[in-house]
Every structure is written in C-alpha cells, then in structure tokens.
Symmetry: C2
Subunit: 215 residues, 2 copies
C-alpha cells in the first residue's frame, strides 16, 4: 500500500509533514508513505530543503495520493509540465487534497463537473481561488465523497491522514488503526479529546459496509 | 531574534516541523527560525532527509532553542561529542523541549537539581526514561517555569511554539502574535477553539508583567 504526498517547491511544511508522520504510525507489511516531488529536492515556503522519496510517476501508480499545499500552488496549477505529468484517478486511487492542494484538484478536474461537482475544503487564503475555479468551499475542516477528500487549515491534515488510514486498512480495523495513530501524535493529557474530535470529522465519510479502497 | 530547533538523526518529523511552521508565521525584522543539526543533513525516524539550516554552535548563540525529539534521543543523551557541543543556558536563552527532547534537557542539567528540579512534560514512550533521570513527569501537554518549557505529545509542539512567540515578542503584542500564528495553522471551522485551547495551556506560564526574554 503506497501513499504518495505530492510536495512541490514552496511547500507548506505542516501540510506535507503532519500527514506523513501520522500515516507512518501504521506498521503493516507493504505500507509505504513517501514525499513525491517533481525534482530531487524541494524547498519549502520557509526554506526547508528536503529530499524527494518518490516521483510524480510513482504518485500516479500509488494507492493513495495527498496533494500538498504551498505558496506556489497557483503557479503549479498553470504549469503544463506538472499538470501533464499527473495522472491521478479516483476510480483506482484515494485522492486527498490539503489546503491549496484543493485548487490543483479542481484544475485537474478531480472534483467533478457540473451538478456532480464536489464541494471542498481549503484554507482561508486559497478560498477565493478555489471559488473562482467554480467550486463551493465549505466552512469546515474536512469533507469527502467517494474516493476524494479535501481538508482546510494546516492541522486539518490529521483528519485527512485519519481518513486515508481508515479507508486503506478498511472496516473496523481501519478505524482502530486511525485511532491508534491519532492517539500517538495527540498532546499528552488530551489524547482522548483529540482522537474523538478527529474521528468525529472523518467517520461520517467512511462507507458503512465496505471501507476498503476499490482494487 | 533567532530560534534554533535542534534536530538530530532519527528525528520525529512533527516534533521539529510543526513548531517550525508556526514560528515562521511571525513576520518581524530579524526574526529567524532554523533547523540546527550536528551534520549537514539529518534523516528522520521515517526516512525524511532534510538539510540543516544551522549548527549546534549557532543554537548555543540563539535567543531560543527547541530540543526536538526522535527515536535516537537515548543514544544522543549519552553521546559525549553532542552533549559537549551543546552550551545551552536558560539565563540568556529560552529553552523548550519536545517529547524525548526532555530527556536531553535532564541530562544537560537544564531542569535544575534537587528540590528546585522542574517537573516536565514528555511523550508516553520517553516517560519512564525521564523518570529514571529523576524528573517528575506531568500528565499534561505543556509546562514552563522561568525560561524553560517542556511539551509532551507531537501536536503539543503548537503550545511550545506559542509560548516561544509570546515570550520572545513579549507583552500583549506577543500574545497577539501567538494568537495569529495559531489561528493560521488551525483547521477551518474550529480555529477559535484551537487558539483558545492552545493559549489556555500557555497563558498560565507567561509572566504577568515582563513577557520579554532577559537580555
């Protein structure tokens, strides 16, 4: 099971790394989480240079993809090379977008069209740009329909990560894994509150019967 | 104003990066936040390689230092080269430790001695090691006395960052800056709750009169 976190130059550190840390709490054979980047290294909005762990092609083949956020997303959403290299497909992948990553989802047509277009979450700064792309922006931290989810506000990345764990592992076991991962990262003395809040955001979007990602 | 985040091989991504992202929300002349490492690159507990932005010597000269956490802290706490290179001094610096970073603070003697020894926060895994070092571990996410603070649980790093901003900027302005930084990173739709909870943890440890770090 490979989860790729798309991370571009200008990336917001929290938006890529919080999800990465939580997703890595799952210790299952074949479970892999990677930072997928268009270049061997990327530099964050605050100058943090990190090494790519996967390519955009790897992300295209992943079981799940998180589209990270950053200060250059509006440029990336007009970059034909990057857009052309991304072949994401919610019929065979779980797709999540964090903050300005939602703008990229809209540009890639992954939020659907017309009356079937999904409403979405994003951060307060990206909000007008996502609206301009014709998407209804929700005043909530997390929303999902089918295999596509969006989250707004850096720390909402914990909800996106929890949804991915619950969906990818599947069923009651998936929710237990999400609970365990959230419990680990939550502040001491308020772990139960953190877990309950996060699962409260995610649970309404988990399928009642089949939690597993379609083959 | 330089805040150095000590980040070693085996580092926990959330523990270094969440604080970094929040601290970078402060946009003031001379405000600088860096990842301070013993080597030019460090590799996280989950294989994330990032480039150092400062040295341990830079951290010794910083206005504030966060001791990050990771899976190798127990080894580092016995590494004479690293311990010898660290010259942290709470009489001229704000010092914060995150999770297993608290163990390093204890080994460096920065939690005080005997009856004056500070109680501290740490994560649930490091807890017995900190207790073995003779420190009372609190069942809460954040504690500070004077210029030394500790936080337990990855996401408690937001409280440590808020305390540093409030103290370094000082006074009502410091609390406003902390509020603004927390508000930015909090999930959409629950920003006020997040900010209130975080400031609720930090405010009891802010000086009533002089919020500024001693010269």
């Amino acid at each position: 099971m490979h989860i790729a976190i798309l991370t571009f130059d200008g990336y917001n550190e929290l938006d890529s790394i919080v999800a990465l840390g939580i997703l890595h709490r799952v210790k299952r054979p074949g479970w892999r989480v990677s930072l997928a980047c268009p270049t061997p290294t990327v530099t964050s909005m605050n100058g943090v240079v990190l090494q790519a762990q996967a390519t955009l092609a790897d992300a295209n083949a992943a079981d799940a993809v998180i589209v990270g956020s950053g200060i250059k997303t509006r440029e990336i959403a007009q970059d034909a090379t990057i857009l052309g290299a991304l072949k994401l497909d919610p019929s065979r992948q779980l797709i999540g977008a964090q903050c300005s990553g939602t703008l990229l989802l809209a540009k890639l047509g992954l939020l659907g069209q017309g009356a079937d277009r999904l409403p979405a979450c994003t951060d307060l700064i990206t909000r007008p740009w996502v609206q301009e792309a014709g998407v209804e922006v929700l005043n909530q931290p997390f929303f999902a329909r089918g295999n596509v989810a969006t989250a707004g506000g850096c720390l909402a990345s914990q909800y996106l990560a929890a949804w991915l764990i619950a969906r990818l592992v599947g069923g009651d076991e998936g929710e237990r894994e999400a609970h365990s991962a959230l419990h680990y990262v939550a502040p001491v003395g308020e772990k139960d509150d953190y877990v309950a809040r996060a699962l409260g955001h995610v649970r309404p979007y988990l399928p009642a019967t089949a939690h597993t990602v379609p083959a």
